[in-house]
């Protein structure tokens, strides 16, 4: 399904639901990247922690369905952890030309 997106003819725009991409990948972008401008309401880094928490709950329930086992207790850095989100929002990009 993911590769289908790449197989589409030139000029075709596919939306997230068409691509059936993982929620996590959309969230990783929608929450973890993009211009951060403080409006009247802006998701704060603490809020992203909440998101992480709720994802854990989701994963917990998925894990239960799949047999109740989650992977190791000391996972690598979180894609949605506050520090990483801040990194994404900062200027850690490399330019190629």
């Amino acid at each position: 399904m993911n590769e289908q997106a790449a197989l589409l003819p030139e000029g075709t725009t596919v939306t997230a639901s068409d691509r059936d991409v993982a929620l996590v990948e959309v969230l990783d972008r929608a929450l973890g990247a993009g211009v951060v401008i403080s409006g009247e309401v802006t998701i704060s880094l603490a809020d992203i922690d909440l998101v992480e928490l709720s994802l854990r709950l989701l994963v917990g329930s998925v894990g239960t369905i799949r047999g109740g086992r989650l992977d190791d207790a000391s996972p690598p850095p979180l894609a949605l952890s506050p520090g990483e989100a801040a990194n994404n929002a900062s200027t850690a990009t490399s330019k190629h030309q």
Binding site: A5, T15, D28, V51, S54, L58, G63, L78, T93, H96
Partner: protein, 273 residues
Amino acid sequence: MSESGNGLYVYCVVPTTAACPVQDVPGVAPDAGVEKLIDGGLTALVSRVRFGEFGSDALKRNLENLPWLQRTAYAHDAVLARALGAEAVVPFRMCTIFADEARVREMLNAERDMLLDALARLARRAEWSIKMMIDSQRLEEALRRRSRLPAGTGISGADEAAPGHAFFERKKLAQRSREHARSVARTTAAQIDAHLREHSVASQALPPLRRELSGESGEMVLNAAYLVDRAAEQAFASEARELAARHDDLAIRLTITGPWAPYNFVSIPKEAT
């Protein structure tokens, strides 16, 4: 903050000159739809949202509500996907909300230079995502097959004479095999990244998604975003697919998604390489 009244949810900014029809995109508040707020050369795509749902207290609650989070994130991305069809788009972080039109205009004026610069930089470019997953065990097996060494080579015969010694030898070999697989995975990820960089304008290494969150089996050794000229998208995608096919026999799997709005390229690259 009061939880009554309406606010304006800002998805992104596009150039005012670009054609970007939004009437048929539902957005995060389907009853309100998506509107354009034009201020000079900048057009913000916005939705009128209720503070009862998007105010700071409500938002804290809703972010913990997975169906809400999922619906909102997909709706946000769908608007950006539409905006990507315009000349250029500068994505805002999900749930950036202003009190009223005047405040949005204020923001557009305050950020005008940054936004115009980003629009120019991102024009006719999109983000593509490449993730590389390895199945460590299968990778080790594949590498052993490749070097034509059966599992446990070099320790047979020692077993009877010194079982303790054989045990440690086996452990050492297993360790070496793991390290070798890790090093092959790292090298392959670096090669794939280097190839794809050639076909892109900029790239950004993202933290690997945790296994539980990514929903993928195996270990993610590369999670990267590439900014690609839309005219060169097909070349980029076929290069990525070719790389995926080439490494298929080594328990390495590439997933390619795109085009995305350039979420990870809104800020100006710091260093030129």
